[in-house]
């Protein structure tokens, strides 16, 4: 299992389109991907779960990836979050 602590840094937070990007990326991998805030954890392959987290800007999140391709999955998901989902 690989674990990463990150912070949502784009201005709009984990809004619908950003969440969709995250879910699409996570879904490309075999590994199970869990994303958590202090309050709740969600399946990162589920759009509703990720939206329910309601993670706004500056919210700390934890990624926990478990499976055969976890290293690649963590790298891509981290790049996406750190890169602010390609937004300003």
């Amino acid at each position: 299992m690989t674990r990463r602590e990150l912070v949502i840094s784009n201005r709009l937070g984990l809004h619908a389109r950003a969440a969709a990007k995250l879910v699409q990326t996570a879904s490309r991998f075999k590994s199970q991907v869990i994303i958590s805030t202090h309050q709740m954890s969600a399946d990162a392959k589920s759009i509703l779960g990720v939206l329910t987290l309601a993670a706004s800007k500056d919210t700390p999140v934890v990624l926990e990836v478990d499976g055969p391709d976890e290293t690649a999955a963590v790298a891509e998901l981290e790049a996406l979050i750190v890169g602010r989902f390609g937004e300003e």
């Binding site: 199970q32 709740m40 392959k45």
Partner: protein, 321 residues
């Protein structure tokens, strides 16, 4: 025993949040404003009684301390240095908050020590019994241990059915199928379960309520699409079924004589693993699992009855010459 995985939260409430939450008790803050970040960690209240007479050993600092007529009258009659010492011994334990009832007046010592130790001192005009009832009732609910799990939760034939399993195993699709067949959705994707006593009540996180994501269609609202009879606000968890892609080599329960249980926040519920494979109609299987649970509750255990009949037949064969 298997334990249901999820994010467990032990809810707490700060003294400041308490003031907001119980505004109906007409609360006023008399002293200890600096301590409003102190946390209440137990839904039970305590009356400090003996502690004020100098025996503070059994004070639970994480509980709300109620100062009613007994306590306030005692303090009023035993003023001065002795009272200050007794109060300091209690308040230095970091008590989350003191609540004076019936609109009684605190002694000067109480006000001073509360301020000095940053202990919130709050007053309500209501009687102790009323205040205690309201607080305990609400806190038992608010502070119940809770867990958020990944899964779909439905009312099927009046039974609370929790579907768990890896993502894309078909939880949402099965849930939709069950709704179409007249059962009621409580929550899809994430389920918040609270434990009260041995009861486990599941409901949707507020944001999510009655929504479902169907791959290829998007997010839909079951309440709007199917009407109020297709959804339900909350439901007791009665049965947990794990959907799993059929794995070659794994042995699934073939008899159903033994019953597996799963632990959710320490409470136990019947648990089945249902393999998913082509040509297996999961919805029908789930309905049958629920019917079978209802039957067992009535005292009819089909698998055991069959096994006993079989055993009897074998025994009779042994008797034959």
């Amino acid at each position: 025993m298997k334990v249901l995985a999820g994010q467990e939260v032990l809810p707490r409430m700060s003294a400041g949040q308490f003031l907001d939450r119980f505004a109906g008790l007409e609360l006023e803050l008399l002293a200890g404003r600096d301590g409003l970040d102190r946390e209440i960690a137990s839904p039970r209240i305590q009356k400090p009684g003996l502690a004020l007479a100098g025996d503070p050993e059994y004070i639970h600092p994480d509980r709300i301390q109620i100062l009613g007529a007994t306590e306030i009258n005692y303090l009023s009659r035993h003023g001065g240095e002795a009272q200050r010492k007794a109060l300091e011994a209690v308040l230095c334990k970091g008590v989350c908050l003191f609540l004076i009832t019936k609109g009684l007046s605190p002694t000067a010592e109480l006000l001073q020590v509360a301020d000095a130790t940053r202990t919130p001192l709050i007053r309500s005009p209501k009687t102790s019994s009323f205040v205690i009832n309201v607080i305990t009732d609400t806190l038992l609910d608010v502070m119940a241990p809770r867990i958020t799990v990944h899964g779909s939760f439905l009312d099927v034939f009046g039974v609370g059915l929790l579907l768990v399993g890896e993502s894309s195993v078909g939880k949402s699709e099965s849930a939709l199928d069950l709704v179409v067949r007249g059962h009621r959705l409580v929550s899809d994707d994430l389920v918040e379960i609270r434990r009260r006593g041995d009861g486990l009540v599941g409901r949707a996180p507020e944001m999510l309520q009655y929504h479902m994501e169907l791959r290829g269609v998007g997010i839909v609202n079951i309440n709007d699409l199917f009407g109020v009879v297709a959804t339900q606000l909350q439901k007791e968890v009665d049965l947990v079924v794990e959907l799993e892609l059929w794995r070659e080599g794994r042995s699934y329960d073939r008899l159903g004589v033994e019953e597996q249980q799963i632990s959710i926040l320490g409470a136990h519920r019947p648990y089945l693993v249902l393999p998913v494979a082509p040509a297996r109609n999961i919805t029908i299987l789930l309905e049958v699992a629920v019917r079978n649970l209802l039957l067992k509750r009535e005292g009819v255990h089909s698998a055991r009855a069959f096994a006993e009949r079989h055993q009897g037949r074998l025994a009779r064969r042994d008797d034959e010459p």
